[in-house]
């Protein structure tokens, strides 16, 4: 039995009278690929923000790699984010004035251990061996997303959290990224992915469907 990397117990988020997440119980085991799906307004983004420690929960528990993040301070949440989580964004969010290599090294910098060779190796892995010194503006959307994935992987996070990673890509690039996620999964990486795209969710081990802030389906 694989260990539990991510667990939520009665996770609830309230904004005044609105409750975008209402008592979510979820577990993700090591090496598992879980897709979170649901229509707009179902609470997917709020869920991902809390899972990535960018937001706090109002009630319940969220345990990540053994750390109860609902009990930690803001300062400690930054450390959890830095050391346990690799974030992949729909819009890539690369620093525009840093090269591909520097964008990857930026995550190492905040982690406190810069290793240029490691950063290059990860970029090679995502197929950007010839693009280290290019600025994001000189890269295609697919290439930018690959830099974003390389940045998410560089610190060997406990979990990769991805928000619509193919949402801004054309078909061919979508396929490259999809293949890459498959590869990561095959390697035993733990992935939680928020998506509208059923094709992307199809390759996940499990799909969690949200509706009005509640889990309506756990499907294998």
């Amino acid at each position: 039995m694989q260990k539990i990397v991510l667990e939520t117990v009665g996770l609830t988020k309230r904004f005044g009278n609105v409750t975008p997440l209402d008592g979510i119980d979820m577990q993700v085991r090591e090496g598992e690929w879980v897709a979170i799906m649901g229509p707009s307004g179902s609470g997917k983004t709020t869920m991902l923000n809390i899972l990535s420690c960018l937001d706090t929960l109002s009630e319940g528990k969220y345990i990540l790699d053994g750390i109860d993040t609902s009990q930690v301070s803001e300062k400690e949440r930054v450390v959890v984010r830095r050391e346990k989580i690799g974030l992949v964004f729909q819009q890539f969010h690369l620093v525009p004035y840093l090269t591909a290599l520097e964008n990857v090294m930026l995550a190492q910098y905040y982690h406190g251990m810069i290793d240029r060779d490691d950063a290059i190796e990860v970029l090679n892995r995502v197929g950007l061996s010839h693009r280290y010194d290019h600025l994001p503006s000189q890269l295609s959307g697919g290439e930018q997303q690959r830099v974003c994935i390389a940045r998410a992987l560089i610190n060997q996070p406990a979990i990769i959290l991805a928000d619509e990673p193919t949402g801004n890509l054309d078909e061919s690039n979508e396929q490259i990224i999809l293949d890459f996620f498959k590869e990561l999964h095959a390697e035993g990486r733990t992935i939680v992915l928020v998506t509208h795209n059923p094709e992307l969710a199809e390759f996940a081990d499990r799909t969690v469907r949200l509706h009005h802030g509640k889990v309506v389906q756990h499907a294998a």
Binding site: D55, R81, F89, Y109, G112, R116, D133
Partner: protein, 387 residues
């Protein structure tokens, strides 16, 4: 090749991010640099003038007449003193502080058309002492001329004297008389307009008291209370003499200086405030522009300290560069002001450095306070929302 380079250190990476961030925002950096440089240059120029103004203004104000009196002690009952004693007393005043001085010996004489007060003076000293006199004709330029005189404007009118006329000067008691040529007619706006002026030696002969003077008037450059110290020193060295600043004039000097300095301080504060606002506006725009970037940095592990450090280092780099340029420009500006107002160069004093540097850098840091707070308030989950 990229692969062959060594890994940057934490500090190296920090500097790389810092300088690339500055480079990519050249225009904003240039505006901030110019704001800081202009502010610092004006502060530097004002500080240069401020610390030099006492000396410059004091010299300038000294053109309005004597501010120091040396005479026999009133308690002694003496009305005159030896001119050699007076000269010795004058030696106590540091030469670089003495603008001009003249002994005075007064007496009543008879001219062709009536009586008048005769004043024996040292003309070269008197000219330095009273450069504001309006003289028709010319000044007597040497102290040994015993054939010429200068006449006050009112007296000249009463005695019907013009430049080039001759006038007979006679002492009623001793009968000494001498015919003199009127070399200049002086308009002073004061009691001197009713007096006739001759060289001291001649006055001594006419009045029958050679080698005597009633008092000495001097124009001394002073700052603060140093003129009182000088008076006390003179009285210690010459117990029979009365030495004192002419309060009205000395205090006027001080008051004008204080007002000018106050005005300069107000202008400096206004300039610093404007600079701070300008820098702050630019930095707020920079933070607004970088909202996503800051959100991303926080999302991938930057803590508040890292964000503050990055911003403060950026503003300090621009600030130090701007202030350094401002110091140079400010000194040049001070020279322009010095030439325009005082007709002389402004001396650079070391005290200007901290006075210009510290407030300018503090203003730049104060300007960064609100933008840094804004940056710290950025919530990654909100700004990185993928729409």
């Amino acid at each position: 090749m990229a692969a062959s380079s060594a890994s940057p250190s934490q500090a190296g990476m920090f500097l790389r991010i810092l300088f690339k961030s500055l480079k990519v925002r050249r225009n904003r950096v240039a505006i901030t640099f110019c704001s800081v440089a202009i502010g610092a240059s004006i502060i530097t120029a004002l500080a240069c003038v401020y610390f030099d103004i006492s000396a410059k203004m004091s010299r300038e104000l000294r053109t309005y007449g004597a501010n120091f009196f040396i005479g026999p002690k009133a308690a002694s009952g003496e009305r005159s003193m030896g001119s050699q004693t007076g000269q010795a007393a004058l030696q106590v005043i540091p030469p670089d502080k003495l603008i001009g001085a003249s002994p005075y010996l007064y007496g009543l004489v008879r001219l062709d058309l009536g009586n008048a007060v005769l004043a024996g003076v040292d003309f070269p000293g008197l000219r330095r002492l009273s450069p504001y006199w309006q003289v028709e004709g010319e000044w007597i330029s040497v102290s040994f001329d015993e054939d010429s005189c200068m006449v006050g404007k009112h007296l000249a009118k009463t005695m019907e004297l013009k430049v080039g006329d001759s006038v007979n000067v006679m002492h009623a008691e001793n009968g000494f008389q001498k015919r003199l040529t009127v070399k200049g007619i002086a308009e002073t706006g004061q009691a001197e307009d009713d007096q006739i002026f001759v060289n001291l030696a001649l006055a001594g002969k006419v009045l029958g008291v050679p080698g005597e003077v009633n008092h000495i008037m001097a124009s001394v450059v002073s700052q603060g209370t140093d003129i009182d110290t000088l008076a006390a020193q003179l009285e210690r060295e010459f117990p029979n003499l009365d030495a004192k600043p002419i309060r009205k004039v000395s205090y006027s000097d001080g008051k004008i200086l204080d007002r000018i300095k106050g005005l300069m301080a107000i202008v400096a504060v206004i300039i610093l405030s404007v600079t701070t606002l300008c820098v702050m506006t630019t930095l707020i725009a920079v933070v607004s522009e970088r909202t996503r970037e800051i959100g991303l940095m926080k999302a991938i592990g930057a803590d508040d300290r890292g964000v503050v450090l990055q911003f403060l280092c950026e503003i300090m780099i621009i600030g130090v560069a701007g202030v350094t340029a401002g110091l140079g420009l400010g000194f040049l500006l001070a020279q322009v002001l010095g030439q325009a107002v005082f007709g002389s160069a402004i001396t650079f004093r070391a005290v200007v450095l901290p006075v210009a540097l510290i407030p300018s850098l503090l203003a730049a840091l104060a300007a960064a306070a609100l933008p840094v707070r804004m940056a710290l308030g950025i919530v990654p989950a909100r700004v990185l929302k993928d729409e």
